[in-house]
Symmetry: C2
């Protein structure tokens, strides 16, 4: 696999940063003395929250999708873009395609959050449903790409997507300098791989730690065994991390540059959602809480450390959000 | 009234900015293309949201309280600080007093949101309850100040409080330059008066517009009649704007520098809370939605304009928030 590919480098992230400049929001980095005190009562820790829930369409996914489409040839632009996604990448492709003036078709699971389906359509994307428990979205994607001549941009297993996602961590390091630890949510590994590329250049001594749901620890198993492990669709409230295996391009970067992968429970995600809403006044979707949960719930010890935390997104049905935090 | 006082000037805000530097958060300014399109489908408007819901203790009130206490003499510090507040100013005084290492006593209505009472006590403030429908908090405050020798810092009618609150708009202008319109929530008039001082120096052609709840339009009546009108305690979900009249120091600035005061309904506040949660991923308390509601609900036309919107705070019980937005 990937035998002939040039390994991704930080330079790819830098190029992506130039492409998305002006189109993507430069999201704020927030701090919270309450959070700092929660992880280190002695006062030695500082957490820096990179808020991709404030990114366009509500998640970091816009970065990778926009970067990938920005590299299309005229011929690719004429046929349009195709993807499959459990949600945020769908909106990201739909919005990026609209901005580029090209067509987009999105293969989505029929149990995707209503908010994400509606937003994808609102951005002008054509939605094609499938059953994620019985059908293979990658197969459907390949078939439709062939039939329609559209270019498939998968949600994570693509060099341009990974490079684009890495721009969030780049901005974080540019804003706050080097860090001791960077905690990153992990589904298919696009954000984690991209973040690791940025850390390797901008903060070489920073530990890069992936965080995934307990029920979906395929990433942890993969990193520890040295090969991509497929666990089937995990049952977790972190719908953005309901991936069954890492991408190949992602794993190549992750095994090279990521220090460890830890897991958190759904209960820990809910407690973190409440913390964000009550103390930091932010709406964060369950998947977006993964990295913060690892620090705030004591899964990964950060006392005395300068810690970056990537909040990946904020797209959660309000009714569901209300039920979870009330 | 105020015959011998020197009128407040922008220089007072500049001095306050120097005093709170390092203690207060410099809060982010967010933009939303969805909001821009909602107020001007032709694409001519840009809204800049100054997010004081991300301020320490969750509201702009920290700025004024910290500024006032920072000016205490040694004798004042020994006796401590006293205040009355429906909520956010209470927490602001309690936290600022703790940071200054002095005692704080807070007179609060017995129907204040539980979250605000708990947070005030958490910051080390002594809470003294009163009935806001039958008792006068200003009288109780004067009596306790005399008995205990503590310095009363009221929630809005105080030059140092007004100057401190003005630092939020100062930061907004410093970040985004001059504006056509600045929309500011209005209760007692601390934030509005302070913002008007900043606008007068940093963006002299900017229209400064106060926004208050329909049920509590004492500010509008006062500006239009030229004297402070007292309307009794208004019934509105905007608990931070349940003031019955403007402060004297506040009115002196407002009549001099504010262009108009408009009102929004509780329903419009709820619609705006939903918009913030769903599209901008933020928790904003009802009072914090006042200024945005005026723009987003079409109360104050902003098509074609560059508009500043002050979000005053995000302190709302999660259960109440969940009920309102779900």
């Amino acid at each position: 696999m990937l035998e002939n590919a040039t390994p991704l480098q930080y330079g790819d992230v830098e190029q992506a940063a130039a492409r998305i400049d002006g189109a993507a929001h430069r999201t704020p980095v927030l701090t919270s003395r309450t959070a700092d005190a929660a992880v280190d009562p002695a006062g030695g820790a500082t957490l820096f929250f990179k808020c991709e829930n404030f990114q366009r369409m509500g998640a970091f996914k816009f970065r990778g999708a926009y970067n990938a489409i920005a590299r299309f040839t005229e011929e690719q632009r004429r046929a349009g873009v195709l993807t499959y996604s459990s949600g945020n990448h769908a909106q990201a492709i739909a919005l990026s395609a609209r901005l580029a003036g090209i067509r987009a078709a999105i293969i989505m699971p029929n149990d995707a959050p209503a908010l994400k389906v509606a937003a994808t359509r609102e951005y002008g994307g054509e939605v094609i449903f499938y059953d994620r428990y019985t059908e293979n979205r990658e197969e459907i994607g390949r078939r439709l790409a062939q039939e329609r001549g559209m270019t498939l941009i998968p949600p994570y297993d693509h060099p341009d997507v990974i490079a684009g996602q890495g721009t969030a961590a780049k901005e974080l390091f540019d804003d706050v300098g080097e860090l001791d630890v960077l905690l990153v949510p992990l589904g298919g590994g696009g954000l984690l791989a991209g973040s690791a590329l940025s850390a390797s250049a901008l903060s070489p001594n920073c530990k890069v730690i992936g965080v995934e749901p307990e029920a979906g620890n395929d990433g942890q198993q993969s990193l520890r065994t040295g090969r991509i492990v497929d666990i089937g669709v995990p049952q977790t409230i972190a719908d953005g991390a309901q991936t069954s295996h890492l991408g190949q391009h992602n794993f190549e970067v992750i095994r090279r540059l990521v220090d460890d992968i830890v897991t958190v429970s759904d209960d820990q995600l809910v407690a973190t959602m409440k913390f964000f809403a009550e103390r930091m006044k932010m709406v964060v979707e369950p998947t977006g809480c993964l990295a913060a949960a690892a620090a705030l719930q004591g899964v990964y010890p950060v006392a005395g450390k300068k810690v970056g935390i990537l909040i990946s997104g904020g797209n959660v049905d309000l009714a569901r959000f209300a039920k979870l935090v009330a």
